[in-house]
Amino acid sequence: MMEGEMFAEIGALKSDATLELVRPGEIYVRIAPDEIVPFCRSAAERGFELVDLTCVEGFDREGRASLLYCMEKWGIRETLTLVCTLDGGSAPSVDCIFSSASWYERKIRDLFGVDFPDAFDKRRLVLHECYPEGFHPLKKSVPNQPFSPRTAIPPEDEYQFMPVEGEGVYQVPVGPVHAGIIEPGHFRFSVIGETIVNLEVRMFYKHRGIEKLAEGKKPEECVAVAEAISGDESVANALGFSLAIEKIAGITVPDRAEYLRMIYAELERIHSHLGDMAGMLVDVAYPVGATRFTVLREEIFRLNRDLTGSRFMRGAVRIGGVGSDLSHDQIRSLSCFLPDAQERFRDSLKVVLASPTVIDRFATTGVIEPRFIRPLHLTGPTARASGASRDVRRDHPYGAYADVSLPMRMLTSGDVLARFSLKASEVMDSLLMIRACIENLPDGPVITKDSGVPDGYARGIVESARGQNVHHVRVRDGRIDRYSVRTASFCNWQAIQHAVMGNIVADFPVINKSLNLSYAGTDL
């Protein structure tokens, strides 16, 4: 029935479309380059969102680049993927239809050399000036090895920020190295007095070539690469990658492993949210409130190490299941910790929310209006605090999430206070979910051994603490041929440019923290 819905949608978009149901939930449509723009325009009008746009070489034809436009429509469980194999080195731009397409197209231009001649922004994105013109590292013909960088950069090739001019406007450049212990990125504020009238974010300082790094590796070696995407999303990304491989290989993960994965994923969500909440309080000069959350967070890191051997639960998720089973003692210590943590968390929250200084700084600060959600494809707590009830765990359930009833949290004011409160309720939900998991933990093995991964292509979509993470994997001859990742931060970063408008520079840190954007997960 559900599939019928997506078929009907596609029929309305293109009556002569040939559909391929690659596997349950994934529908593919082949499309010619000149059909992309009209198709996307009608899709956008019918409420579709661009989830991801990626490029794969040799997907259909050897040596040719294919663009994969992954779309979803709220309320329909299936995703639609348009596959467009290019004849030459250029493609029409859809950045005027889906605003989020701009960054994808700039990225594909840098990494694959595919041009989008009618794009409104043709500046480089991922590869900064030091990379020579014509160097496109994700092409199969380019080996993954050091190259000669450009040392003298001609002035016309230097990065041009969008000019913002007018009486009283001046620029505040910040970064890439910031004052705190955080990741590098450049923020170019245009301000009048203290008020921000424009912000342009320049990222990708941490581009470490994750996608190319994965190529040629065996699937099981690549879990560590997925974990390196973003340290505090290790479980979510290892899971997203493993889901894709398990789909290709047809591996059924044992029930016990699915439950353990869910426990780890929710522990990760809790420590991530606690870190954000503490960070937000520090940024409004309320360290007393922050400390309680920091203490709880450290305890969770220690618990993680006791359960999995790593404070960030690295190596916990494996293809086909989990790395090791939990003993009775480990489960007992986890179930003792939870009710106590819950009580302390609730008490700490009460103290914080009773502070007028906190509320005064949080409320009406950094509002993300609902109108940005679909064009930028915002997900996770950022979207849920701005009136969008979307959560991969519920909309496209995977693993044990299909068995649990997940309360849908949603707030509508879209400000820092909404994001703080939403994360607080999600921490409570996650604590309860872990308790439920322990109570219903099935017996049995924790890993299914795979007997080799056949050639194929699949996508794993998971809900990390930050939102929807999409992992595309293509396997050829038992090795990774293409690994494309789009974390929630990649999309959500673009929202901060709108969230800060009209706010004062001094509120930028708390707005940034409330969005909890991963630089590493965006730059890859």
């Binding site: 050091p146 890439p176 212990i181 955080i182 300082y205 470490r208 290790s234 203490v295 404070r311 590493a520």
Partner: protein
Amino acid sequence: MLPVFKNIISRKTTEDISLHDPEFEAVGGDLKAAIDARMRRSLAIRELDSGSDNATEIEINLLSSPHYDVERFGISFVASPRHADLLLVTGAVTRNMEVAVKKTYEAMPAPKYVIAVGDDACDGGIYRGTYAVLGGVDAVLPVDLKIPGNPPEPIDILRGILALMTR
């Protein structure tokens, strides 16, 4: 008025959390003695992320949290390289960060130390020999000490700083 007055005279309550980690305290005590002797009681650290996966930043941040609270030992994390004695660098050095890494180091007053924190910072780790990175921190800066780990735990980082201060 009364609540303010009451607040002034009332006994301040602090929460006791069980933070007894004798191993960490021992390392911290030694470090304090070393910093007292060598750095005239204060070691100013600037953290620099040259391309890490952010896990190491979390661990370094936690050094200032109640469980560790390394300010007790004479350590402060400073906002500018101009105020720093020691640079803690995390991650393999990416091409896109090369200039910023060098400029940060150059901005520090001499004498200065550099510690590479984490496997990727030590020798490039999983990124060694790939297009996007130059290698470990020592490909760009003179490194005094390397702390391996993926990521190293807070106590490992403190041990590394102690090793630098006592050699």
